[in-house]
Symmetry: C2
């Protein structure tokens, strides 16, 4: 068992690496050449431009202003300064609410840490059980519940604290649910006119021998919905989409060769026509790619025409728009026909949030797909060790030599050999873990969800389960999930919490180290953005010709709800489980929440690009997972105490999960509808207001081309209906907000005095 | 273990008692004096009248027509003759679909029985395991899976059959769900105009300082629902209701004494004013009750006035009616405001189906109430043995002597003593079991459901759980549910199906006896209606003065979904569990389903009064419980086989519950909406049709007093909006249908040739 010294060493290493990352970040972000890597969001907003015009040449790339280097941590207060309302208008409600997850962590765990240290630590510390038992133990164990003798009356303190922790957590969760729900409603109410407010997505339109899908939709809704206005059919443009992507790739190569030629005009670049440019006959690269692109443009135009003409390329789904928000709200929430498998209606996602490939899946297939994915995920979760072990057994020296004999001489070089032997097995696992979020996202896509935001939520759920079994339980009872499965099947229902509960205090030091590696150094690594940095400079050097190319070379990335949120949840789980058992772990969790809050606030303000706005639709699942963590912590404490001769406490503790569960049910019925439904009163109010304000607005034209597959849109109006449409009014504000390019954003004139949303201000002015 | 002979004896006894019941029924029902007991439904329909006018005096009471006695079982074909469409118009869709539950039993188990006997019995029989083992065994065991040696290849037959049974059951369930859903939709489409089609129930209306609830409702819906027409507030009339009931009781006593005086005019009857007429001063009974009734009438009138005037007697709930079915469908299916705890809307139940007491429960209390009832039901289910044991321990001789010492001389008489000692403990349990459905119904009422039909469904769910643990599992692993709970907690997840599975074959004979007692003799007892028979004659003798009193003395009873359906489900469970294990049990289940089908069909046609029409809203729960039985049977077979050395079959069998579960999910999403939602298309169609047909109908007047608390209604218009309204048109038909009074219904002229509903016919004619 690790002593405090061991943990100190580990902490020193991790703090050091975190500091190195932070210093590197502080240095790199000040270089103008990296400006697009560390502040892409401001470029996307149009508040920054490339520093190419004016100034000395060298200043374009290196920052020579020495004073700015002194303020290494200046980004931290800057990241915290922007008030929440401004953050919402700057980065969307999703991002603002996402940050609240970290804040909840602080809100829950600061009082819990104080209480646990002032009461539980003293209760634990003033025993000599471990010394008396003469078992090997560390100072951390002396602070934990392990130090209390079996059957001691002191467990009453832990029981009481379990109650206090539960009620405090529930209180914070309730308040937070209320706040987020209010934020969401205020956000939705303050939003400007948007196509999705008037639109419902209709799927599974039944085939009709006499009418085309478009006619059918029109007739159906004209009859059944007095508010029907117009609709847009969905084209199956998967092939066209592929062609466009292919063309883009060609264009990249053309750019690359043209740039190469420009830099060295003496020699025309050549390429080979075969696979990856390695085989086949040699041709002039620029000519080859120019002709290829021309050919593809022609094909693309043909395909476009074909799609628009062929009735078979219309999938049985449509976006139906209404004259009023009220009409759309009614359509989205009601059942249309007596057969619930056709004419399925739901709220249309934002145009940019639509996941087009899944719009045409027939109803029966959805159940089958879900079954298949459920089984596949079960195996992925519990048996993922097997294929990796198989790959590892293949990926040894002999295997490789057998498979590719001609590499034998190379492999036999001793340094290469030792490298392969040392790293290959680990690499297989590492690759799997890196690929995991993509695998889970792929699974969610197969399940047939129709919006990117819901896909991310579903993937997050899967990832959480994976982390729970393979990281949390896997570390505690030290075995793969497969072995756990066996254990659970062969143990009785009241034995399982015991088995896990007993192991909990012993694993505290492991999890402390885990938090420092993953939560401290990992988060510091996030702010450095090493991968986007490298890729941007490579692209910048090889491909970028125009300002627009440089724009495209930026990879601001997204918040990544599907992989980040489950990781935060792991810290909630650890904090709650160890709160009553080994309070010493709590400060480490606290530091994670505080540090990560600052880092992600900075990233959200300066880096991430918002791909959709779900108005915090993910909150119910965040709330639900914290509740799950709470119930698990209660059950494990129950298991632990029953092995410590405090079995009579079982009924007292059993009350907690039941009450927590009903608390969850209450929250669900009280707040969840705010995240799922769209109330008619709100819709009616907005409709009435808008009609009074702008009675002659031509809604039909406005909605005409809102839901067109992105492939049919020109590049210029690509974002017409999403960001641009929203930020139109605040563009002016943004420009005034950000003047200095050397520093991170200063607080705007819309400081903390004015808590109203710009959107609202704007609304009222109109 | 019982041999075939033992079972034969038991069967003989039960068949004999069933025959005695049937003969008694055949005799009693032919006596005109019992006509109101055995054919009350026809009286309610107005197709029969008391045989007081005309005929010899004796003929009023005794049937002297000897020929009719010859046809003892004539009711059976008669009960089967009425075609389903006529049954629906005669007794409602609920009753007709309820009968289909028995039919499903036959559809599932007839092919399963044939298969099981032709394949499994021969596979089992041709072994000698039990003989070789020299264990005590019966012939039934030789037919069961116990006779197969451990690890035999013959288990493949059982595995295959498990698959075949599962697929057959699922197929029948799917088809049946489809049929019932179609029937429901057809029924709803063919219904005449009814208040609940235009009405939504609104609950949790938030308090407003400036407006009364009625004004608030009007303003809210005028603004948010263009289709709003009118509304009715709900008065808290619980006190008035009590007064009316009290008055009725007084009236009964008055009638009783008046009749007594009429029969013996020489002596004025007297009564005492105190408790139960046993204490207090002696007064003239007729005068006393007349004055009491007068006093109460005055009080009642005051209370009525108070309720109508006092704004506090209006509860925050209202029935809101719309101009169209479309408007009501929209309101019932959507969320009204951003706060999901106020302005809750749902479909209004039929006026007669409303459970008035629960309309005003605030939202928070609902969660708390549900939590309390969940905990209470948990204890009732698992710990009900404890209070009964406590009562039993009290209810012994010494306890009674201590509690009421003055009864000691009486108790010490030896016959009384032995009676008490022998019966008291059993009586405590018996009373509990008789009271159980009422206790469960009370629990459901506390949970806050707003319609009688949903209360019955909820109670049925609770009763099913109770039967499953205390009858099914309780008989198999022989112990109270409390002991089972201990066992389950201390056994591993894969051990539990084994423990139960192993015991299954051994309990076959017990369950066969159970089926014969409960399912054969019990059902035969149902048709005899002993309790209503006795009560009717008592009332007839003591209270009945007028024809109307006699009408009221009838107690047709209802179908009793809450206690009957769970009992049928037990037979599904037994049949499915034993199908692959001991096929010998199947014929007994089959006889139950066939016999019960006939008996209940007869009762529904001739006896039960329909208290509400939910249009088969209970079907999803019936379907769900059969699926549960199927999954349990699969798990138990899995457990059993794993102890018989066929552990390698586990993965093969594990597929079944997973597939069954997803089959259920599919059915749920495919068909359940038809039972929960009201599709807009249907609503629109009916609206359009009706507007074309009857454009000047005054809907407002029609709906004005539809939802008035029954206590405010005069007796004469009590049923105006329920049965009378529906049967208006078919009254003529009914009269022609039933002419003979000596026999059960003959098939009407609307025989099987005309499958259309009278309602539809009527609709088309208009």
């Amino acid at each position: 068992m690790a002593t405090i010294q061991d943990i100190g060493v580990s902490a020193a290493i991790n703090i050091l690496s975190a500091i190195v990352f932070l210093l590197a970040f502080a240095f790199l972000r000040l270089q103008p050449i990296n400006d697009r890597v560390y502040f892409p969001k401001w470029y996307l907003k149009g508040a920054r431009e490339s520093p190419s015009h004016g100034g000395a040449f060298v200043r374009k790339f290196v920052n020579l202003d020495m004073r700015s280097y002194m303020k290494v941590l200046s980004w931290m207060p800057a990241a915290l300064k922007m008030p929440e309302d401004e953050l919402i208008s700057h980065a969307g409600l999703d991002s603002a609410v996402y940050l609240r997850i970290y804040l909840i962590g602080l809100k829950i765990f600061v009082p819990i840490t104080v209480l646990a240290f002032s009461i539980l630590v003293s209760v634990n510390w003033t025993n000599n059980t471990l010394e008396n038992l003469k078992v090997q133990h560390s100072d951390i164990d002396k602070l934990s519940i392990s130090n209390i003798p079996s059957g001691s009356k002191r467990f009453i303190a832990h029981l009481t604290m379990a109650y206090v922790f539960t009620f405090w957590t529930c209180y914070v969760l309730l308040r937070e649910y209320e706040i987020v729900a209010t934020m969401r409603l205020r956000f939705l109410a303050s939003e400007k006119r948007r196509p999705d407010q008037f639109t419902a997505l209709v799927r599974n339109i039944p085939p009709d021998p006499d009418e085309s899908i478009s006619e059918l939709v029109e007739h159906f809704f004209l009859v059944n919905h007095p508010d029907y206005l117009t609709h847009q059919v969905v084209y199956n443009a998967n092939k066209l989409d592929k062609m466009v992507k292919e063309k883009k790739k060609m264009q990249n190569w053309l750019d690359y060769y043209q740039l190469k030629y420009e830099r060295n005009t003496s020699k025309r670049p050549t390429t080979k026509t075969g696979f990856l440019g390695c085989f086949g006959s040699k041709v002039d690269a620029i000519e080859y790619y120019t002709s290829e692109i021309e050919r593809m443009e022609k094909e693309e135009a043909e395909e476009r025409e074909k799609i628009m003409k062929d009735p078979k390329s219309v999938v049985p789904a449509a976006f139906v728009s209404f004259q009023s928000r009220w009409g759309a709200a009614v359509c989205a929430q009601t059942q249309q026909t007596s057969n619930p498998t056709v004419w399925l209606t739901e709220w249309a996602p934002e145009p940019r949030d639509v996941y087009w490939d899944n719009l045409s899946i027939p109803f029966v297939y959805l159940t089958v797909r879900r079954l298949i994915i459920a089984v596949a995920f079960f195996f992925l979760n519990f048996f993922y060790v097997i294929p990796i072990a198989f790959v590892q057994s293949l990926a040894n020296i002999e295997g490789i030599e057998k498979a590719v004999p001609f590499l034998k001489p190379l492999i036999e070089i001793s340094t290469v050999k030792s490298f392969i032997q040392g790293f290959l097995p680990g690499i297989a696992l590492k690759i799997f873990l890196i690929l995991l979020p993509s695998i889970l996202m792929f699974m969610s896509k197969v399940e047939g969800l129709t919006s990117v935001s819901s896909l991310e939520r579903r993937s997050a759920f899967k990832y959480y389960i994976f982390l729970f079994f393979n990281v949390f339980l896997g570390s505690i009872i030290a075995g793969s999930a497969l072995e756990q499965l066996k254990t659970f099947l062969h143990q009785s229902a009241n034995q399982i919490p015991r088995t896990i509960g007993v192991a909990i205090p012993m694993k505290a030091t492991f999890f402390i180290t885990y938090i420092m590696v993953d939560g401290w150094a990992g988060v510091a690594g996030e702010i450095l953005r090493l991968k986007p940095l490298i890729i941007f400079h490579l692209k910048n050097f090889f491909l970028v010709k125009t300002e627009k190319d440089r724009e495209e070379a930026m990879d601001p990335g997204t918040l990544g709800f599907d992989s980040n949120e489950p990781q935060i949840q792991l810290y909630f789980l650890l904090g709650l489980v160890y709160a009553a058992v080994t309070p010493f772990l709590l400060p480490f969790v606290l530091i994670f929440f505080g540090f990560a809050y600052m880092v992600y606030r900075h990233q959200i303000i300066n880096v991430y690009k918002q791909e959709y706005e779900s108005a915090a639709a993910f909150w119910p699942s965040v709330h639900g997972r914290i509740i799950i963590a709470l119930i698990i912590s209660q059950l494990l404490l129950l298991g632990l105490l029953s092995t410590k001769g405090a079995g009579q406490s079982t009924p007292v503790l059993l009350v907690l999960p039941v009450v927590t569960f009903y608390f969850h049910k209450y929250c669900k019925s009280r707040y969840e509808p705010a995240f799922v439904e769209y109330p008619l009163q709100e819709a009616m109010q907005k409709d009435t207001l808008e009609r009074a304000r702008d009675p002659w607005f031509d809604l039909r034209t406005y909605l005409m081309s809102a839901y067109i597959h992105p492939v049919f849109k020109g590049d210029e109006d690509d974002e017409k209906f999403s960001i641009a449409d929203e930020s139109e009014a605040e563009q002016v504000l943004v420009a005034t907000k950000r003047q200095s390019r050397r520093n991170t954003p200063a607080p705007s004139k819309y400081g903390s005095e004015s808590p109203s949303l710009p959107g609202i201000v704007n609304d009222q002015r109109l």
